[in-house]
Symmetry: D2
């Protein structure tokens, strides 16, 4: 389905970094759900370049909702969010891209679109498109909170520095909420930012790991084949540019454990079935078990760097050396975290609507 | 879509571990593709329990193709493969499961299916269902080879022991082909098997990491949003029981790299655009770049172990201690590798048919 | 999705008229739904050739359910129904079809499958495949009845003879239930059968119109765009071989009406909103209004006739005259009616599960 | 998928009659396809209210393409078309709709959206949304013409008056192209317009039949189950408000024919397989046969009329009489014809891209 994702709740993305608008259509959100524009604005702000560790580009991300919302509530029909691009320079594409930026999509786009792709900035591959995903996800995330489901993401690791683990989940999620650089341990965050600036000073970039948790998802959501909760979340997450890996619960570390250690002992707590550990990440056999869903993604270092790089002019098929100019992020991991929150919220809304029907999100049931 | 996966080439899985048949319907394979039953048989054999490091259960996996193939070639309409279950004991379900096995799907199935799920063995959650996935994927994998696309998987790591990295890909894939315990370095394999037996002797189990490579996939396949090649592969792979993580190219390790190291320098080789390294795993912006696709999955240790485990009787909501009996695999990572090959082949066939049309696999083009 | 239809409840069809099995996988039926094999058998019997007005072929349609049902109830996972073909003659395809039967799919299959299609009998295009659709639909139809939704179809017209209109719907549906030639007015049925025999005697065939009604569907199911109830039903119905048209409510006749006549006056009855007429066929703006859903399909005359017909040998590209041999139905409209019932039941189950969640059919709700 | 339709080429619709924008996202159009804004403008003009036989509302339908097109050519990524609403009055919804308009979607929307639906004008159910569908379809239709596929629709019947049948298809399609009231026989058109005005004068409305033909579609496109060309076209067409029936080829009339008359004799013409008649409407077994695709839809009379009508206030559950005010179309059949052209073009683009790959529309092939 290319630019549309989801069954019952589906999001469609469109736009290019230098077009008039980027945007998203979110279809299938239950009617009567409150749409909090401040909430959306806040998430968009957190995605924007911030201070010295980000590109100095100014992105305002003023958005407007042009369908599907009336009197502050969803109507039940498609919600369309438009975000105008500020930096549109109509003449920009007179000089078309010819030299592939290493580990960017320039060459693959050429192979797929035969030279017709929009090469102004990142075009449709631009990280900018994630602003639309954030706006769409913000609607979902805000609605999930009304139903007692909370999502939070922190920079688990950046430039080789680790944040502390999640601990008291609900409190940690609150802590992270409005942070522009979302770490649980501020001293770790300080070291990360220093490392980012150091890399930036050397014309280089860094990556990291994002860790997301979702609490309050009822047990019994998802499918054994093929729409496992892990499968749906991962399908979505790899659309977020720079993600190169995803792991749930104990993740790759579980592969070195013995079963007796990896298995989550099952207990009763307040009459509810829980597990003493959560190496399963809240999912067994593709289906939620009522414990927090927890996953991490590997974010690669921003591919645009100022150091000279070997490349190829694919129009003339000649080897060349590429030297990037302009303004670029030395790290995007801290900006990507609201993208991950948003993307997670969309997938959960879809899985819940498939399981419990289209009214579930609004709390109205037949 | 639950038990159906794919757009142009789609596989539907059905069956339970103790039902009459498990099976798969593969729809959308081009007409005129050779179906090599020996090839399928061989892949099923590699999935079967082997020697002392697997369960002593006998699984014959005799299969029959009951539709979609005529005179040894695909007709273009759905191919249905049936695999009879050998161990069907009709009385088995008289005593329904009540105590959830830790890190199994017992409790999540109860939440989703309200007690109606088939609890004989693993039911529809059983690893046995992967035999049907293997048979379906074998048809795809064999056909891809005719088009110059080769897939291979090795046990990259098991019980803390690592295999050597891929080196000469085509030759390595050939080496792995018929191995019952697929490692590139036999001495590493020997150590792995020893570690598995040791764990088994202690009533415990081990996990591992599988690494898959696909060579020969043309550049320009996949989508930037949402049907990235990574997204589609990962969606599929998390259906394979025990997978808790997936990473492409350098994967999680890339998150600690600087951009200057992580980026793949682009070169020309024999007039073709290649990259000097392959940290991207053959995919940029969700689209293949013509380099080998490479990914790894984290396989958790088999959850069924003989050590006593804390659990809950969810019918009576009482805590209890579970002691497993019967025959179980102390490791499944070596058996899962053909499942991963097969699953990968299905996804690639779908992506290629979406890109180049329904005849691509047969080489007939309008 | 080719041979799979539906989102939450999906059916996958497979098989060819002369293969070992035809069958269906029904995925997404709620757990705990009773599966009444007598009910399925009865519907399959009604689809079978009957007496002198059908082909003298013997089709036993013995079926077996090989997954998804335990102790007579659905487990919630895919239900697979296999129906063995009786008439499999392995040598049959030695002489491949070369001459296209007019208004059959022979030539279009050749264009699509390049000569690899199964040409024994109708292959995958055979009306025989509808037996699998009937079996799948029977599971759905039986379950819908438990939720107060009843579906019935009669031969509204055949060979130029018309049956009376539906009148007391529930009673009419009961009347039709076990009839091998489903008309409301037996004298009309008698005339239809005479006309069929007359056509048969002349080596010719006849068509007709089927009218289906579904009562008890709650108001508020379906979508304005694109998954209108009409759109989903029609998408499905055109898969039934021989259907060349579909109309809802007043259908084509409404195009000659004035608005004042066509519009259904709205009333209250026992505190419920109803309409005085039902020209809308129970659907407004793609969404059910609580009134009976009513639609008619145009069934073309069976294309296989004994009269000589102009055709083309598409292997040699030569004009020729085709003279059919063997056993053929002079009419299939009376057999197609249970197919229509079944197909309608599948679509309604899907629409209801999308609307109210996966448990709706079993009456279990979160 | 609700507001998204199609697999490889997919259209997403959004908007309400009184929101800021309505629009469409068309995804999957091959890169490098010319986008002719005059062509789009022209189709939008033909959809607009015209003269005395339409509502006197002024709809300008100025549109802008905000993504997916660069230098007049498609980039291969989503094309977004925005159409601003002129008549947005922000206070309009202060008085919410309470009385259901007969044969409108007011009551069904209430059942589905629980009172949160946008009830200003037709909301998301408005015929106005078809402007977005027309714009999207215009891109497809224009592109198909470059590949030799031409689509045309005429008002086959209106208010009881019939147009002549299609005759020389290519010439007829050209004739119809720019007509605001698309008939082949102008004298019939004159009578239709008189009948429309007569009905309008009496506060009433009329319906009609639209007939569409598509020439140049290659043989071998579509599927036997379930994505028959008829099934996909009909699924789409029932989204067009007012459509209550669809028939292909001879349609309902075929149900009264004998097989010997209904069957299309097959011939050779200039070395190509053709049929002497086209009762099949260009489709056999769900797959195109290379003959023109031909279908008709039943368009109900506009439900909004000025005559008093029995209805119900569904907020207070009281019977009442509704008297419509304002400006309304006494007929929409002549305006709907470009909608049908557009909708047909979208479905064909999707079916062709599924069959021949994503580049087919641009003529670039691997």
């Amino acid at each position: 389905m290319k630019n549309t994702f989801g069954y019952s709740v589906a999001v469609t993305l469109f736009g290019e970094s230098h077009g008039e608008y980027i945007g998203a259509v979110i279809d299938g959100i239950a009617p009567g759900v409150d749409v909090d524009t401040e909430y959306i604005k806040n998430m968009l702000t957190l995605r924007r370049p911030q201070g010295t560790i980000s590109t100095p580009r100014q992105e305002k991300d003023e958005f407007k909702i042009v369908s599907g919302v009336m009197c502050g509530k969803t109507t039940g029909t498609p919600i369309t969010i438009l975000i105008p691009n500020e930096n549109v320079k109509s003449g920009d594409y007179s000089e078309m891209r010819k030299v592939a930026r290493p580990s960017h999509a320039d060459y693959t786009a050429e192979c797929k679109y035969h030279g017709y792709q929009d090469t102004r900035g990142g075009g449709h591959f631009s990280g900018r498109i994630t602003a639309a995903l954030v706006a769409a996800g913000a609607v979902c995330k805000c609605a999930l909170e009304k139903r007692g489901i909370f999502i939070g993401t922190h920079v688990k690791r950046c430039a080789g520095v680790s944040d502390r683990d999640f601990c008291d989940l609900q409190s940690d999620i609150n802590t992270l909420k409005d942070k522009t650089f979302a770490v649980l341990d501020e001293s770790a965050g300080e070291k990360m930012r220093e490392a980012i600036l150091k890399a930036a000073g050397e014309g280089d970039s860094v990556g990291g790991v994002l860790e997301t948790v979702a609490v309050g998802v009822p047990a019994g959501v998802g499918e054994p084949w093929f729409d496992t909760v892990e499968g749906m979340l991962s399908h979505m997450m790899f659309s977020v540019p720079a993600v190169k890996g995803i792991e749930f619960g104990a993740g790759f570390a579980i592969s070195d454990m013995r079963g007796a250690v990896a298995n989550d002992p099952i207990r009763l707590e307040d009459g509810k079935v829980i597990t003493a550990t959560n190496n399963s990440g809240g999912i067994n056999g593709g289906i939620t078990n009522g414990m927090p869903i927890i996953f991490r993604t590997a974010i690669k270092p921003t591919p645009t760097i100022f150091k000279p790089q070997d490349s190829v002019n694919y129009k003339e098929m000649k080897e060349t050396v590429l030297e990037a100019k302009g303004r670029h992020d030395p790290a995007i991991v801290h900006r990507a975290r609201v993208v991950q929150d948003a993307a997670c919220a969309i997938v959960l809304c879809d899985a819940l609507a498939m399981r419990y029907g289209t009214d579930w999100l609004s709390g109205e049931q037949q």
